[in-house]
Every structure is written in C-alpha cells, then in structure tokens.
C-alpha cells in the first residue's frame, strides 16, 4: 500500500483504550483515515508515502476536542473583564451582540477562532451561536471538524427577531448541513433551562431526536440559576430537565457546576455527556464542577473553553493544566485528576461527549486522521520523563507544530495553510475599532 502521509521520529500518544504510548512510532494515513500505527524497529525502512513528516523527536497525538465554544465571540475577547456577571452580560456582551452580530461578523469571528484553535492543536470543536450558517461556512473554509448548532433562546436574538421561530430556524440549519460535508455535523443548542420555556426545550429536543443529532444545553452553571430553577420548578436544573425528558445519551450538559449527588446519578443513568469549562467557570466565578465525582460515577466528561469573552482564549493546553490543578486543590488531594485522566477529557472523552468518538479523539487504525505534532525541542519541554505529564503540565498551544484534520495538513511549521491569517487579523482589528467607537 502506498500511503498519503507517513509521520515518523516521534513518541505517539494514542489515547486508545489502553492509553498506549509508542516510542519512535510510525503513523500512516490514506485519504482521511489512519491506516497504520506501529513502533519503528531498527533498520526498518520508512513506509513509502507521498508525504513524509519528520516529528523530530516530538510528540504525535490526537488533535484536541473542544466541547464548548461560541466561536464568533472571539470578537469580544477582553471587551470587559472582572465584572459581576449581570453587569458583564447586560452592559457589555448583550449590547455588543445586538449591535455587532451580523452574518459577516459571525463569519469573521469564527475564522479567527478556527485559526486560534488550529494553531493551538484543537482539531474538533462543538459550537452554538446565532447565524450559525456563517460559522459553518467559516469552519468549512478552514477545514476543521465541528459539531455546530444554531442557538435557541426565548428572546429576540441576532438573526431571529421572533422567538417563536427559534426552533424552526435551528431545524433549517440542521437540514441544510446534514450530510453536506463530512466534517460538519449539525446539532441543536438550547441556551439554558432559565431562558427557554418547557415547551421550547421539549420541541427542540424532539427536533434533535427526529434528526438524530446532539442536543446541547448550558445547565447548572451558576448559583443564580440554581435558585431560579428551584423557585420556579421546585427541582434542581438537572432534575427538572430530566423530568421533561431532555437528558439522554444524545445530550451534552455544558458547565454542570451546581450538581448534587442525585443529579450526578441522573446524568450517569441517562448516559449524557458533560462539557467541563474550568477556566470560564473560574473567571465568571460560577463555581467548580464536581468532575471527579462525575468521572467516578462513569459519566463521560469532555473539556471546553467556552467563548473568548469569558476565558479569554481557546487554548485547550492551558485548560488541561487548569483542570488538573483546580480539582486537586479543591479537594486537597494531589492524586485527583491525574494527567492521563485530563488528557482523556481533552481527546477521546470530549469526542465521546459530543458523539464523535467513532471518528476522532484517539489515534487508532480506521479512525479519522486528526493528528497534531508537538515540538518538544524547547527549554520548557525538556527533560521529558513522561509525555502525557509533559502535555498536560508543561506544553502550551504554541508548541503545536503541525496539524492534520481528516488526512489533510492544515498547519505546517505553525503556518495556517487554508486561510489568509494576515487578512483575518487585519479585518478583526478594523472591526474592533468600530466596537471601540460605539
């Protein structure tokens, strides 16, 4: 067999079910798939391929999976920080969205986010926003893999002035993108149990089920939400959603901070996925999600950055580092959330939480070739005793050298190949000048 790409001279972190690590590994691709992974023995010739990539002693690993983003909000990175949640939302984020979120700005913000994600090793994301059609166009242009959803909320929103149309709009998006291109998987996103009525939630979940797509929802994010749902529905957010039939194995519960033990039992029993966003939850002071307990209960947990407005970046390397450390100090137990557990959340766990674990999240024969190469020849990455620990505790997004998605090289030697990054940056700067003036 003649291969398309052969990657060699690196340590392969597979993230397969045994978490195998292959020193001096070889990985071959054909079309969009991984077709060979093995250790290179001495004197073994390099398999023939159109393109040989020398990892130069670095780390070869699965592309990272970001289970929660709002890509266009990169345009609001650092617009307002260190404020109470209500002032941040009502005085800055909502007005900025109302004024500035249009199809063209959504596409621009999504392009910027895709560039940032790829250049920091994320090959798959799971997104929800408005004008999502234009997010999809940007993701498609860049060549990433993504689960994308048109947002549903019971208020007038950018592009959906009448909330009565919200679910139909989201359905239109699903029908348009279903099967259109292999890398974009449509989904539906209800904002939250306090901004969507019971009827909206049930209608949206019904639409998700009818179309066999992932249902995403922000849930149990803040204490305020907890109190509000308790008052209105006399239940926790999870119990309320479960009662109305929203939680099952095709549901992604985003944040999941304010949970009690019965909530965790429900999530585990229903086999729903959880998106853990530690940096956003820290910065907005929402709280610390009980991730060790969720994992212990057998729940699939992925990592997410949330939007750049509340993080303020999309770097899953720093998110891994933070996730590992936050739960240790919270429980005063340094053995919690070890490096392998955290790397799983950022790869195969995340893929599973968003329903893509058969395609991506690990390097295994037959799976999609979503691969990143880490340049470890840097002062902060030597010595290297344990590659997984190095990835979680020392590596940064900027150490990602090459990025391959579905067998196609999108980043080579830290250069983004599919779109004109200079042009995107210039347009974003020009756009931000308008925001600053208003």
């Amino acid at each position: 067999m003649h291969f398309d790409i052969v990657i060699h001279n690196g340590t392969v972190i597979t993230m397969n079910s045994d978490c195998n690590i292959i020193n001096n590994g070889i990985l071959c691709t054909k079309n969009d798939k991984i077709v060979k992974i093995e250790a290179r023995t001495s004197n073994m010739p390099l398999p023939e391929a159109q393109n040989a990539i020398d990892a130069e002693g670095g780390i070869i690993m699965p592309g990272l999976v970001n289970t929660h983003t709002h890509l266009p909000m990169a345009l609001f990175r650092g617009l307002a920080d260190d404020l109470p949640l209500s002032r941040w939302l009502n005085e800055y984020i909502f007005p900025a969205e109302t004024k500035h979120i249009q199809p063209e700005s959504v596409r621009l913000g999504a392009l910027l986010s895709c560039a940032e994600m790829l250049l920091s090793g994320t090959t798959t994301c799971c997104d929800g926003y408005f004008f999502e059609d234009h997010v999809a166009a940007a993701v498609n242009e860049v060549g990433m893999r993504a689960v994308l959803a048109q947002g549903v909320i019971d208020f007038p929103a950018p592009g959906v002035s009448d909330p009565a149309d919200n679910v139909n709009n989201a359905l239109k998006f699903i029908r348009k993108w279903d099967g259109l291109t292999p890398l974009i998987i449509p989904s539906i996103f209800c904002h939250s149990p306090y901004t969507c009525s019971k009827e909206t939630l049930k209608k949206a979940k019904g639409a998700a089920d009818d179309n066999g797509v992932l249902f995403q929802i922000h849930v149990a994010e803040t204490k305020d939400e907890y109190l509000q749902i308790q008052t209105k529905h006399h239940a926790t957010s999870i119990k309320y959603l479960d009662k109305i039939g929203i939680i099952d194995q095709n549901t992604l519960l985003v944040h999941a901070v304010w949970l009690n033990d019965p909530d965790i039992e429900i999530i585990a029993k229903r086999r729903a996925g959880v998106s853990h966003n530690p940096e956003s939850n820290m910065k907005l002071a929402s709280g610390i999600a009980p991730v060790p307990a969720l994992l212990k209960a057998g729940v699939t947990v992925g990592l997410g950055t949330d939007s750049c407005a509340s993080n303020n970046d999309l770097d899953l390397f720093s998110e891994m580092d933070t996730a590992a450390k936050l739960h240790k100090v919270n429980a005063l137990d340094p053995t919690l959330m070890d490096a392998v557990t955290v790397l799983k959340m950022a790869t195969i766990g995340g893929a599973k939480a968003i329903g893509l674990d058969r395609a991506t999240g690990s390097l295994e024969i037959g799976k999609q070739a979503d691969i990143i190469i880490i340049d470890t020849h840097k002062p902060h990455l030597v010595p290297l005793y344990n590659p997984v620990s190095q990835i979680v505790y020392a590596a940064r997004g900027s150490d990602v050298r090459d990025v391959i998605v579905a067998g196609r090289t999108l980043v080579k030697d830290r250069k983004l190949l599919t779109v004109d990054l200079e042009n995107i940056i210039e347009k974003v700067i020009r756009f931000s000048e308008i925001i600053k003036k208003k």
Copy 2:
C-alpha cells in the same frame, strides 16, 4: 542626548504608581537605565539611538518578576506527578536530589531555567537552592537579574553534608556575591519552620540582618505543616516565626497558604512580603492562599512559579491567568483579583516583595531597563480592547518577542543571545537519560 536603545511603535504598560498606559509610546535607554518614556506625537522624529527597536504595534512592558524558584529543579520537570506529597518527595524528589545534584548539574539546570524564564518574559527571579554558587554562575552567564540564596536546612543536603555548617555556608555565598556584579543580589533562604530549628532560624535571620539581605522562607504551605507547628510550638507558623523575631520588612514569606486573620495582621504589621505560588499550591494540593485578604491588609504580594518539579513550568503568564481566576472562583466573586492587581503582583509587587522595587518592576525614568516586548499580531491576541486584560487573560510566555535586562538585549525575535540554547537542551536530555536509568 544620544540613546542606546529606542523602542517605538507599541503600547507601553508602565506599571508605575498610576498604572499609566501610553499608546504609541517611545522608551529610550542609556547604559542600564530607562531615560525617557513618552507618547509619540504625529510628525515627531524618532530620537537618535544606536539601536531602534520597532515593537510593531505590540506591547512594551516591564520584565516579569518571579519571586520564588528553585532553578536547578528544572532537571526534574515531570519526573513524578499526581502523587501524595510525601511519596512525591520521599520516593522521587529527595532521592533524585541526593543522587544527581552536583555543581555541574546545578549549573545546567539553572541555565535551562534561565532560558525558559527569559523566553517567557521573566527578567528577575528570586531563588534558593543548594550549590547556589553555581546557580549564580549560570544566572550571570545568561545576564538575568536575580536574588539568590544558598539554602539552609537542618539535614544533610547536597554540598552541605554537616547541617552544622548550613548557615556558615550560606554566609560564604553572601560574602562572595555581595557587590560582585550588579545583577546578582545575594540573600539567605531557610527551608521552613519545620525543617530548621529555632536556633538555625535565628542565626540565619541574624546573618541576613548583619549583611542587609533578604531572608526567604517557605511558610504555612500545607495543612501538615500547620498541624506540626501547632503541636510543637502551640502557635501558627506565622505566630511562631514572629515570636522568634524572623518576620520584618526584609522577610519574604513563600506560599503563606494556611493563615488565619491574626497571621495576616502580623504580616501586614511587620511589612513582610509574600510570594504567592498558585499553580504549585494547586498541583501539590496544598491549598489556596488568602491573597485577596493579604492585599486588603496592605501586604505586598508577588507571584512565583515555584520549581518546575511542582508546576511544571516557569511561565509567569499562565501563573497570572491562574491567579486571577483561582481567587474569583474560590470566593465566587468575579470582581476579585482584577487584571491590574494581578499584573502588579507579577511586576512591581514582586519587585517590592524581594526588595528590588527601586531597580525594577516598572517602566519609569531612572529605573533599570528591564523591558519585554509582546508580539500581539497573533490570532489569540486580537482584538485588543484592554492591554492589561490581554496580558493577564490571553497572552502566553511564547508571545514574548524581545527581552532587555539592564539595557542589554538578551532575547531578540525569540532567540536567546547570550548562551547556546541548543547545547543546553542537548546536555539536559543526556542528563535525563542518566536519571531515567537509575
């Protein structure tokens, strides 16, 4: 006046007492000092200088100050993680130190750490370790600014087989380096109140006072220490140290996690500095230092990374991001530890905590020219609404383009100029092969 360096075309974050920010600023140096800072008006010609540095629209700011390091321990980066503190220390770190810490390895580890620090924007560090003479040689070779101390502990230690010699050894180091070169400031470092006797602590503090140098000590780091000191001295660590006369304005209290309100009052009254090491405290699950309360009481707090064995890097950018977010979520208050407060800790606050605020930590006329330039032309650093927020929440160490210490350019376009980084990395890799075998 003809200047040595003129830096132009960037936003200057001064970190002076008003935290002035100068758009399109100009900064000039002569010899080792800053001699001019101003806004560039239209049509204003660039001042004449031997060397003009174009910041290309980036950020010009003070070099960062790392108030707590053990530089040679970079050799043990990732050697063992996710373990209970006692197993981590007794099964990995202490044996590795006993076997592998020699003058040559100390120098090598310190060179590696200096390279990492400079390439991530740190221009000053405050260190304590064994064979510190060889740390000083490495720091001197690289050209950084540092407060350095020979460690004092009541056990046999690398290079000090008889603990009875510990303070004398540290004194020898102070006498050798005092005034030898302007960038190295000797100090003394007692390991902790539970590993040094009352006599050792008093003798070491006396030696520090006699020589007018900073006295550093790990204190109130873990619950175990808290319980041990309570049992033995019937007081908190801070109260015990205060009773024996250790805490004053020339004392740096490192970690300071397990404090009660009277402890905070003592620290404030004595005007001691605190080194806050959030990532190390999180990774080792020591606890969360009450930094907002310390700041409220008027205590000077600096940021530190601790060693690479417990972090696992020396990047103060990620340390700032973590510090800002950790305290917000801990208090469920997003207004705590705003970006300016955190950047102060990493610059002028840190400089003050280690007694160097008259020399470094801010960009002001007459101060030392310790300057870094951030390349903001990157997808994760646009748009840019607020430079301080961008530095704390979005920038990474790898965004540092140029580094100047005492008027001398040490890093240019991300290349370290003073030492052969390739050679250091190769030697470190070879050294780690020996550690792995044993």
